[in-house]
């Protein structure tokens, strides 16, 4: 099965001149080694405000108001995008609604015994939705989508969802992870790699996912103590393979440090045996 390809735009469209078009290329490589490093800016495109706009807004009330409107507009827009597709849900059931939602936002889905569907297949999918209506939705790749807590509502009632990928989603946070408990009996694979807002607090409620076999929590910048978190998550989910790059990184770093210490010790005491010595 070819890995789903999604070249996606994440977060706000850039504005105010600065910034480049931010793209996330998420060649899904679930468990195949290193994850791509995602753009981890939680508010892409907003930074230019800090400069000129920021200093002007602190002097002029009108500008401050304007800034507030702008930020309100962004959040309104985000909520608009994350509405539940209630019409599709009512007429075609949860699987089709979820697939429609994910495809609209540039993700990919796979129904049972079917090929992956990509955003460009959306029209064809909608045309054939009667065909898909009876099939269970098994895999969803919403990597890099602007999905947030409210949008997740489209996905959490899928009775046979086996695999969910949310790599590098800028708005997936701990609240979202708390919402996943209803997938507890079916979900086997979950990837949260590179989600800038996910912390150890949210990872703690993944213990609801009883059937989980594979969990990717690599590259989470907001997790405070990565090594410890990794160990605790592994302990919490004994039947699950937990993938986390940071842990390995840390280990390597430690051993490098250690080697340096050893080298130093060896240099200071010629002829002393290598290894950690009490000094």
């Amino acid at each position: 099965m070819a890995a789903p390809k999604a070249l996606l735009r994440a977060g706000h469209p850039t504005w105010w001149g600065g910034g480049t078009l931010r793209t996330l290329s998420s060649q899904s490589n679930f468990g195949q080694g290193l994850n791509p490093s995602y753009d981890l800016d939680p508010n892409p495109g907003r930074n230019p405000q800090q400069g000129l706009m920021g200093s002007m807004a602190s002097r002029f009330y009108d500008l401050e108001q304007f800034r507030e409107w702008i930020s309100r507009f962004w959040s309104w827009n985000l909520y608009r995008k994350n509405k539940v597709f209630s019409y599709t849900l009512k007429h075609y059931g949860p699987s089709v609604a979820a697939a429609h939602f994910v495809l609209t936002h540039g993700g990919a889905v796979r129904f049972q015994d079917q090929e992956w569907l990509f955003p460009q297949d959306k029209n064809q999918f909608l045309w054939n939705n009667h065909h898909f209506q009876k099939l269970p939705l098994e895999e969803v790749d919403a990597s890099g989508c602007v999905i947030n807590y409210y949008g997740l509502e489209n996905l959490v009632f899928l009775p046979s969802l086996r695999s969910l990928r949310l790599c590098g989603c800028p708005y997936v946070d701990d609240w979202c992870l708390g919402r996943l408990h209803s997938l507890g009996s079916s979900l086997q694979e979950l990837s949260l790699a590179g989600c800038p807002k996910v912390t150890e607090r949210g990872l703690a409620c993944l213990h609801h996912l009883r059937s989980l076999r594979r969990l990717d929590i690599s590259n989470l910048p907001a997790v405070s103590d990565k090594g410890l978190t990794q160990i605790l998550v592994e302990e919490m989910l004994p039947n699950c393979e937990v993938v986390g790059i940071d842990y390995a990184d840390r280990l390597k770093l430690l051993s490098e440090d250690q080697r340096r210490v050893e080298e130093k010790a060896a240099a200071a005491v010629p002829g002393a045996p290598g290894g950690l010595m009490p000094t």
Binding site: E68, S71, R201, A204, H208, L232
Partner: protein, 486 residues
């Protein structure tokens, strides 16, 4: 235009470069006089912090439409919602009076920050559901332009409540009500419980209820500061002082049944400034009693509860401080990352604190064992005698643990039915209550603030109907009993 700007920039650049190339600058500032002068000039410059009549900035205004007594989470929440719901910007002047800007004894910052939906009164469940929605979108509600977003640090780990044989049917009833109200709570049998949390000893547990979503704990300080920051940015005034007197006028009236009642109106509050004997009278239209554990005292200042017993006038506000201890202990072998906040049959509760094998917990003492409330000293024997045996029984891993630290705080305890009081007093119609939440005030603050603002501005509750929490229930002796008190 562009060329002009460019020229300006170039010339300015040259000028400043020219100045900078001098080794010392135009004035030789050996004794620091020049720096001092520059600093003074900055202060006196128009827009600087200098004022002709200095020293009034800390005083409250002479008049405010609404005076909120108590700058805890409830007080600031009311202030925020008043500003948010006012019909036009800057129509009402709101003043928050707080006597202790360090919040050294305020319950808000001494609480453990829990939020749950497992209550026995539907209104409390609704309040919690409202609050969780508020917390989830806190950066939309409390965003201040130019300030960093708030990080509420919510841990969505849930509450796990255990029930013995006697309490099982009551728990079942409560959970049914909670689910009907919209909470995501499930019931677990002892076997299911053991499966889910193998570290629990399920002996003498008959039933457990477990919140799947929207329950957990968060950072109370962040919520308090967020509300405060936003309210201040919306034009709320604040002052650091203590309300020592409420000046009111009395109007005798006769009810339809021929009884004489005295209707009171508070016209002024006297605010004593910290570290001074002076006080400042503040004329006001409405006083909001959000003084937490001390709100009973404040109500007395308005004459509430002073009168013949059995009458409305003689009915006290039954809120008093109750001291509660919280202990933090270390136990490397303790429950893992999945551990929720557990409340035992015995009333003992504990939860994980961070990742490193730390836990915190406490327990409400029995009525006879209530400690003195003069100070916030911690009784360490209480842990040994009342807490540890139950902890070790429920979670065998806690047999070996090490207490690291402890603190105490005051519950704003309603001795009548352990529920909040929201809304105006029938005889002092311009005193509104928002107090008495007996250990769950923090999580209800967003909803309660909104409810008080609604009833003050519109005369009725529109989001959540909190009429059951009115003051008159004390007079009519109608309890709205909250059975799940932690």
């Amino acid at each position: 235009m562009l060329r002009l700007a460019l020229q300006l920039r170039v010339s300015r650049g040259l000028l400043s470069r020219g100045l900078r190339t001098r080794s010392r600058g135009p004035i030789d500032d050996k004794d620091g006089k020049w720096t001092e002068f520059k600093r003074k000039l900055q202060v006196f410059w128009p827009g600087g912090s200098w004022e002709a009549f200095s020293g009034t900035i800390h005083l409250p205004p002479e008049h405010a439409d609404v005076v909120i007594v108590g700058g805890g989470v409830i007080g600031w929440s009311v202030a925020y919602w008043l500003k948010r719901l006012e019909a036009r910007n800057n129509t009402i002047r709101v003043l928050v009076v707080e006597r202790d800007p360090t919040y050294s004894r305020a319950s808000t910052v001494l609480s453990i920050g829990g939020i749950r939906q497992q209550f026995s009164v539907p209104q409390s469940v609704q309040l919690s559901l409202f609050s969780i929605e508020f917390l989830r979108n806190i950066n939309e509600y409390l965003a201040v332009a130019g300030e960093p977003p708030l990080d509420i640090q919510f841990c969505p780990s849930g509450y796990l409540m255990l029930a013995s044989e006697e309490n099982a049917s009551e728990m079942e009833r409560n959970v049914k009500m909670q689910r009907q109200t919209g909470a995501k709570v499930c019931l677990l049998s002892p076997e299911q419980l053991k499966n889910k949390f193998p570290w629990i000893n399920t002996e003498d547990v008959a039933l457990a209820s477990y919140g799947l979503e929207n329950e957990g704990w968060f950072d109370p300080w962040c919520l308090l500061q967020g509300l405060r920051r936003k309210a201040l940015s919306m034009g709320v005034c604040h002052s650091h002082g203590e309300v020592i007197e409420l000046v009111s006028s009395v109007r005798p009236m006769v009810t339809s049944r021929g009884e004489q009642v005295n209707i009171k109106r508070i016209n002024e509050v006297h605010v004593k400034m910290n570290s001074s004997l002076e006080y400042q009278p503040v004329g006001c239209a409405v006083v909001i009693n959000a003084a937490g554990a001390w709100s009973g005292k404040l109500a007395e200042l308005a004459g509430i509860g002073i009168g013949p017993p059995g009458t409305l006038q003689g009915t006290r506000l039954p809120v008093e401080p109750r001291k509660r201890y919280v202990y933090v202990w270390h136990c490397p072998q303790g429950p893992g990352l999945e551990a929720p906040l557990v409340t035992d049959i015995s009333g003992v509760y504990f939860r994980r604190e961070g990742l490193g094998g730390y836990y915190l917990g406490g327990c409400s003492p029995t009525e006879e064992d209530e400690p003195e409330t003069e100070d916030l000293e911690v009784d360490h024997d209480f842990f040994q005698e009342k807490l540890w045996p139950h902890l070790a029984h429920r979670v065998p891993a806690f047999n070996s643990l090490k207490v690291q630290s402890a603190w105490a705080g005051y519950y704003d305890y309603n001795t009548f039915d352990q529920n909040g009081i929201v809304g105006p007093h029938p005889l002092v119609p311009n005193m509104y209550f928002a107090t008495g939440f007996s250990g769950h005030g923090l999580q209800h603050a967003p909803g309660v603030g909104r409810a008080v603002a609604e009833i003050l501005l519109n005369g009725e509750f529109s989001t959540i109907d909190l009429n059951v929490f009115s003051f008159s229930r004390f007079y009519q002796v109608e309890k709205v009993q909250e059975n799940i008190i932690i």
